[in-house]
């Protein structure tokens, strides 16, 4: 049994190689540049942990982990184009450093590379892994589309927002765990429980992310709070406030969203506090966190095997920064 920390280090070493050929350099150098920007490599490590929950980590899990991480980087390169993001991890994004066309094509070939890596696994697992991978990849695209659609919508229901977060973020975490479970020889029931553990953990994490952006301690959080508010980003907090704020506060909130007054963050936070969005968000996070742990509990393997996943969940979700 290995901790997230340790598997993280192992995977970083494994992944820290050249992935693409030399030529054409105009296509592949951007990809190598982007992969070298690093990242927490959470998804592939979840695959390894999902595997180890049921048995020894197999050769296949390293391939699937690599494919998952390549896929994740493909989505980042293309998302950065769509979001017109200038920076990623403090460095220039691919479309800024090279060109939009190059970023588009570099992303495409990165996705194909992910499938090439998947094709290295043993034949017995190929179909179910491909099937799960394809479904998840499709859902991630659907989530990104919904997210873009929401940007131009005045009203988004909490249900629709939750579904978007699920598709854009949670299913990839959940599916990473499930691929590992498949490779570890898990039955379907345990696979589904592990998927649900990941899905709910992902939602809880997003709620926490939204919460910290508004109410986090800037010193511990590492960045100024209120970024989402200034960007008029739809968040769990904003949508809930729009639903539950008193009539006057609601009107003010809508007015604030349309402009950019100096004291926007302060005023929005005051409205949030008035309708207790902060307490609600903490409760919502805890609800999903507890449900996630319940799913983990229900998985039919000896408890000792669950320790690293439980520790990871606590580490990710029990911080106030």
């Amino acid at each position: 049994m290995h901790s997230f920390e340790l598997l993280s280090q192992k995977f970083a070493l494994h992944f820290d190689v050249r992935h693409f050929p030399e030529d054409p350099a105009t296509l592949y150098e951007p990809n190598e540049y982007f992969l070298k920007l690093g990242g927490k490599r959470i998804r592939p490590v979840l695959c390894l942990m999902g595997n180890e929950l049921f048995g020894e980590i197999t050769e296949d899990a390293w391939h699937v982990g690599t494919a998952i991480e390549l896929f994740h980087n493909f989505t980042l390169i293309h998302d950065d184009i769509m979001d017109k993001a200038p920076l990623r991890r403090g460095m220039e994004t691919v479309h800024i450093k090279y060109s939009e066309n190059t970023a588009l094509l570099a992303g495409d070939v990165m996705l194909v590379k992910a499938y090439e890596e998947l094709n290295k696994i043993s034949l017995e697992h190929l179909k179910p892994i491909l099937s799960l991978f394809n479904r998840t990849a499709t859902e991630v695209c659907e989530g990104q589309q919904m997210d873009m659609d929401f940007e131009t919508m005045d009203i988004v229901s909490m249900d629709a927002y939750l579904r978007m977060i699920e598709l854009k973020t949670s299913v990839a975490l959940a599916a990473s765990l499930q691929t590992g479970a498949i490779l570890g020889g898990s039955g379907e029931r345990n696979q589904n429980l592990l998927f649900e553990f990941g899905r709910k953990l992902g939602i809880a994490f997003q709620v926490q992310d939204d919460y910290l952006d508004a109410f986090g301690d800037p010193e511990k959080f590492g960045k100024q709070t209120g970024g989402d508010i200034l960007a008029n980003k739809k968040t769990f907090l904003l949508l809930h406030a729009l639903e539950c704020a008193k009539s006057e506060d609601r009107k003010e909130l809508i007015t604030l969203l349309k402009g950019n007054p100096r004291d926007k963050v302060e005023k929005v936070l005051n409205i949030y506090k008035a309708c207790k969005v902060d307490e609600w968000a903490m409760q919502l996070k805890n609800k999903y966190f507890e449900e996630a742990l319940k799913h983990l509990d229900d998985i039919a393997v000896i408890s000792r095997r669950k320790v690293p996943l439980r520790e990871l969940a606590v580490f990710l979700l029990k911080r106030d920064y």
Copy 2:
């Protein structure tokens, strides 16, 4: 044994269904719109023909054909973004009708859909088909990148241009045939010969395309000639003329490329004729055409089975319009 014509009709019927779910409509409606624009569906039919060269057409060939056509449409949607093309088959391209972001994401999800279709084939063929598909997809991306790189280069060698055409166009045709051969149970030697048949046919077709754009009969060709010349497009003809024209003609050609005088097409054509680029191109086309047929001859199956492929080759390359 079926002719290209007949298989074309059969595939069109097979492919003319809804491929994507309803929701989110903002993502999938653009895909359905684009697929409905039609097309010659050459690549999937090559897969069916490659299959039938060695045996009865299998269920798998329809899946692989569908995957190949979805992949082709993915490349078209993304290429149109990169080329800033307003029209495709006389209709608005996806990025114009919807948005660039939508076109990007619609293309992405179309590629994933292609892999989903591949995952439907029988397990015994999955690995080799995926492997060939991935290699080809990668090469098509490389070819597109080279094509973009060439746009801003003053000098492109004939070898580099030929390689670009191979990657961007020929390998997809060749690989489509080869997937069919794999599914038909062909051995490696025959597979390779069929691939080479397709690769050389593809090059011959591109040479002919370049030739007709300059020297075709506008009435038979269906469009005004000289389009490539006006667009300063690198073609087999231009690169050869730059290599073989007399010193003065070469200088004039380079000057013509830098401007857009009224009589540009006429003047460039005169230079082409002076160094006999037209004759050279016809010879080059015939050379690749003959080599392609030679590879077909060398495939170890009874001659009768080769008739549809031979007829297709003649149909595609023995026209003067």
